[in-house]
């Protein structure tokens, strides 16, 4: 079994993995970072979005071995356990951008990536378009869109 080494949420990890191990499996099962979710098997839902070297990817469509040597950030790594929430996390909470919470980690990770690419002033149309790869069944997206717009602005000061 090939060995993989990567940095996950700032911590170096090394493990031997079956090549067929998906990054999301590696995170959830090997590292017990269960905040990254699996909502589908066809790369449609985005519940599994994490950042690899600062860029949003679907960890259900990425092999763990492909992340060898990379820097991986998951929802658990956004804010210190006892510290304040990341501005985007706070915005989702403030604007009721979540109900069951299952899609939320992927939404938040995607939202932060949208800000990276599109900046801090996001209009509704842009946000809806950029959420193309994330499904939510609870909120109708209405409050997610509001949360991302607010979170993007809040990240400017952060």
């Amino acid at each position: 079994m090939p060995a993989v080494s990567m940095t996950v949420n700032g911590k170096a990890v090394t493990a031997d993995v079956d090549p067929r191990t998906l990054l999301v499996q590696f995170l959830r099962e090997n590292l017990r970072l269960t905040g990254t979710h699996v909502g589908c098997d066809t790369s449609q839902c985005g519940a599994c979005v994490v950042h690899i070297d600062g860029i949003a990817v679907k960890s259900c469509t990425t092999l763990a071995v492909q992340a060898d040597g990379c820097n991986v950030l998951t929802i658990e790594g956004l804010a210190p356990p006892d510290g304040p929430l990341h501005p985007m996390q706070e915005a989702f909470r403030e604007h009721h951008g979540l109900q069951c919470g299952f899609c939320t980690p992927g939404m938040v990770m995607t939202a932060i990536d949208i800000v990276r690419r599109k900046g801090h002033e996001l209009d509704e149309k842009t946000i809806r378009h950029e959420l193309d790869g994330n499904l939510c069944r609870c909120t109708g997206y209405h409050n997610i869109v509001k949360a991302i717009a607010a979170g993007a602005r809040a990240m400017k000061g952060a």
Binding site: S43, K58, T62, G133
Partner: protein, 264 residues
């Protein structure tokens, strides 16, 4: 997924050798075509040869009247490249319509072409611009490359290294999405480069991407939506599925072609 062996070559030559040695091996580019298929156990490669650490497969370069793009160039790079946006804006637009942002961060030009999904976007641009696919062995004209559903002219040990897109005077892509998958229910790419006029259609053909000769002929007089008004596309040979009948797809080809021409 079935078990497989994983290789991570650093040169095209190494990758080619690995591929030549094992007829059941597959190349891994962005992974966004092959990994989903493997997860559903619809493909059973003995090995995956990861191209992500291979030198020199990525990049965008303007060479004379052509735009040369490395096979491992991600969709997002094509979509946002100032070079592409300047030289061939229709190609950047098309790349920005593939999948979703996270998919565009990983998916590659070469991967998409080698997979040749009948609903993928890139084949429309490659055929619609008359691009040349460059492999570790040869150069293949777009017209000779696409051989049907998930079939290409690539030989078992052949690796796409780059694609050369001739710059068109006018070009545009119009996509009508299948709303569940985000793939093209129908996508139409039109281009004009001197007397070379091309109209390529993805999503609709029962055998994958194809050119619409009737439109191309009509457009020779004038490259305008008006020129193809009244020309109907027969539904024969078009896909019919739960998302749309062959008649509907045939109709959409006309609508999207006119819109593309208006935008070009």
């Amino acid at each position: 997924m079935y078990a497989f062996t994983y290789h991570r070559p650093t040169t095209v030559r190494q990758a080619g050798n690995l591929l030549a040695k094992d007829s059941e091996a597959k190349l891994l580019a962005g992974g966004h075509s092959i990994i989903p298929v493997m997860k559903l156990r619809l493909a059973k490669p003995s090995a995956l040869i990861d191209l992500n650490r291979v030198e020199g497969l990525s990049g965008i370069e303007l060479k004379g009247r052509s735009l040369v793009i490395g096979a491992m160039t991600r969709h997002v790079e094509v979509a946002t490249s100032p070079v592409v946006r300047e030289a061939l804006p229709a190609l950047a637009e098309l790349a920005g319509m593939i999948g979703d942002p996270a998919v565009r961060h990983r998916g590659t030009l070469g991967g998409s072409l080698a997979h040749n999904d009948p609903n993928a976007d890139y084949p429309a641009a490659v055929l619609g611009l008359g691009a040349t696919i460059i492999t570790n062995k040869r150069r293949i004209a777009a017209d000779d490359f696409f051989k049907g559903l998930f079939e290409t002219a690539l030989e078992p040990d052949e690796i796409i290294t780059k694609v050369s897109f001739p710059l068109a005077k006018k070009a545009a892509y119009q996509k009508f999405k299948q709303p569940a998958s985000g793939f093209a229910l129908v996508g139409v790419f039109v281009s004009k480069r001197g007397s070379d006029i091309r109209v390529a259609v993805t999503g609709a053909g029962a055998n994958g991407v194809f050119r619409v000769k009737a439109f191309e002929e009509a457009l020779k007089k004038r490259f305008s939506p008006k020129s193809i008004e009244g020309i109907t596309i027969p539904p024969d040979g078009l896909n019919s599925d739960i998302h749309g009948s062959a008649e509907y797809r045939a109709h959409l080809i006309g609508v999207l072609a006119r819109r593309a021409l208006a935008a070009a």
